[in-house]
């Protein structure tokens, strides 16, 4: 009897503590201003133009520079290593606490439709798992995670190494009453990287050229994202930034996929401009990988994009 009581005491105290810990983590993660999902839910950004997509726009488009060209309040909602489902849910969260932007600038490239590039990052949504839409999409992308989340605290513990630091940082932000994130307009300047290392790695990964694949699931979430934006009367503008010229040479079906992207954009009734053949694509110093730009390259492209948008989109409206 004594042993049973001891076991019961252990089980109850563990469950109760984990339940409380889950609530504490939920709270702390929402206090962390450096987590975009938490910041957009706590701050009224109310941008007129939203930049969205994976790491390329995150490290490429500085809203401060873009604002001076298009004269509209811009926020960079892009997230590194994110796919369209990830982007869709972040737009969904953004609109819960912010006015609708007039325009959404969405980065798209053949890599966007290939499952080998970028992914759905479940850990970004752990505090929001009570939301049915989020829970369902998480379940679709990460069924192993979804099986566990009924157990107290498991929704945070499952990706603990990606969560613990953010919770501690949330505690710091809460204690210091921090209001703005480290990157207030969402833009993150690119890190200085060794180009040759990246290129060698690229060649190692794809020794026999890069054959892009088309994922139906990526297409499904691309359509969902566009439909959601359109249902909110947000004008979507699709664009592709320049790709380093040398890389295109080892991508035999790039143009074929680009054709499909143009067709898809037509189907969903959204303009799509590919800025592929700009002079800057020939200069290696503008890139630190085949798609990602250095600060210098990013400034050149932001200027090009800003002028284009001002002339072809905003002035015409």
């Amino acid at each position: 009897m004594k042993n049973i009581l001891k076991l019961l005491l252990l089980c109850c105290s563990v469950f109760l503590s984990l339940f409380l810990l889950e609530k504490v983590y939920d709270f702390l993660l929402l206090q962390n201003k450096n987590i975009k999902a938490s910041y957009i839910l706590s701050e009224n950004i109310n941008a007129e133009v939203l930049i969205h997509g994976p790491c390329e726009p995150l490290w490429m488009l500085n809203p401060t520079q873009l604002d001076t060209l298009i004269h509209k309040k811009t926020y960079n909602l892009a997230l590194s290593h994110s796919n369209f489902a990830d982007n869709y849910l972040h737009l969904y969260l953004y609109l819960q606490n912010n006015q609708k932007p007039s325009h959404l600038l969405l980065y798209i490239t053949p890599e966007s439709m290939d499952e080998r590039y970028n992914t759905f990052n479940t850990y970004r949504f752990t505090p929001f798992m009570k939301d049915t839409l989020i829970a369902n999409i998480v379940k679709e992308f990460d069924p192993a995670y979804s099986r566990w989340i009924g157990f107290p605290f498991m929704k945070h513990a499952y990706y603990g190494s990606l969560i613990n630091f953010k919770a501690v940082q949330g505690l710091k932000h809460y204690a210091t009453k921090k209001e703005k994130p480290f990157y207030p307009n969402g833009y993150v300047p690119p890190l200085v990287q060794d180009w040759q290392y990246v290129m060698d790695h690229f060649i190692e990964l794809y020794p026999n050229n890069v054959e892009f694949q088309w994922s139906k699931r990526r297409e499904k979430y691309f359509r969902k994202l566009i439909a959601f934006a359109q249902s909110q009367n947000i004008e979507v503008f699709l664009y592709e930034a320049p790709v380093y010229d040398e890389a295109i040479k080892v991508q035999p079906n790039r143009q074929e996929i680009m054709g499909r992207l143009h067709q898809l954009a037509k189907e969903v009734n959204v303009p799509f401009v590919a800025f592929e053949n700009l002079e800057m694509a020939k200069d290696k110093t503008n890139f630190f990988s085949t798609l990602n730009m250095t600060v210098k390259g990013a400034e050149i492209f932001t200027d090009t994009l800003g002028r284009y948008l001002q002339k072809e989109v905003f002035l015409k409206e």
């Binding site: 001891k6 252990l10 503590s17 192993a144 566990w148 513990a157 603990g160 613990n164 630091f165």
Partner: protein, 477 residues
Amino acid sequence: MLVSLAYLVFLSVVLIVFYNIPTSWRLFFLLSVSLLFLGYYHFYSVLFLVGLTAFTLFIGKHLQDSIEKKAASKTIFYFGLLVHLLFLFGLKYVDVHAQGIGLNIASGTFQTQTFLVALGLSFYTLQNIAYLIEIYLGRTKVEKNYLAFFTYNAFFPKLISGPIESTRSFLPQLKSLDQSFDWANFNYGIQRIFMGLFKKMVLAERLLPLVNNTFGLETPATGLTCWVGICLFTLQLYFDFSGYMDIALGSARLFGLKLSENFNYPFRATSIADFWRKWHITLINWLTQYLYYPIVYRFRQWKKASVLLALTLVFLLSGIWHGIGWTFLLWSFCHIIYLSFETLTKSYRVRLSQKMPSTFYTFLSIFITFNLVCLGQLFFRASSLENAFDLLKRVFSFPILERPTFFAYLADGGTQEHLFNIYSTFLLVGLFLLFEKRICQHFFSENLKVLSLFIGILLLMIFGIFDSGAQFIYLQF
């Protein structure tokens, strides 16, 4: 396999049924669930296990008959031995997936294989060989309880990665499964399983990315950083393998069965010989009993040379048992050199120890032993000979110690989050190793330690890695 919710559910169900069926059914029940467990992961492994165990019983019986009749027992014995060795090395290294059949040298290097030809084969073949040797030498009689012998080989907690049990210690336990549920065994069992989960999920899994970064040459780490990365593999392997053992021993204890210990705080070893008395004990015992002693005895007139010969053969076999490849061979050579050196300099080292303060000598011995073991493990873990020498080259490259990037290179980055993770890993591993003996003595108890378990479970939940899906390292051997 043993670190999954499925296993814990399976274990709980088996345990409940085990204590609620007549005692005479228990052995059959344990055998059935063990085969089910094995079949769930790999059906063909069941056929190998049943076939080889039946063959061993058959040969064992004929061997004893021939000994009693003073007939040609040697032929039967060597035939039995040969078949086991053919299965052990044949199945491990003949690549039947390649076009034609050839030696699969490549898979002899360190890698987790997705397809395992026969799970647990390396472990139960050694048990079978030991059984045949014991009969041949007249030290044991043929086992008449076939059900017990099948369960001896198939018992699910120890099936995949050991410990390697002797018939003398484990079979009598299996033949007397009539005990009623015992809280002392239960408490010990769950606490031991918890310790295994903690070692695997918190310590080994947190070290895994650091080790992979180092051995995968993912970072430009040199000098001391690279050496620390190499040393971390030895720690990862220890936590991984001893964690598995804790789960196996804890699971067995829930059924009232005591398996042999495979580790005894190996990082407190003061010499390589001492290390091998504390690391993978059951394998080393097997090799000592059935290879080392017979060779030393056979060549006893050679004096020290017989010891060196025995050491060489034992470690060459141990290397081949782990995998056929140059890296495992070099791992073997490292230990042959270390142990030979220790054998030849024993008297000198004794004199040296008398001239130094004992604490200093012990500390120095532990430090040297650990680093030598890590050097050996570098070859054990390296994906190829080239990889091993690349790493060694890096260790001796400048800068030897570059403080700002020391941790960043290990963590493949250097963001605040990476550093937070690496600091917490070092803190957890460091504290665990420092207080390991106390922690283990506290948890490996027949009394339920409610508060300690409570704290431990919270630590496991906060710092455990749940999403890696990494297998136990020794599963591949």
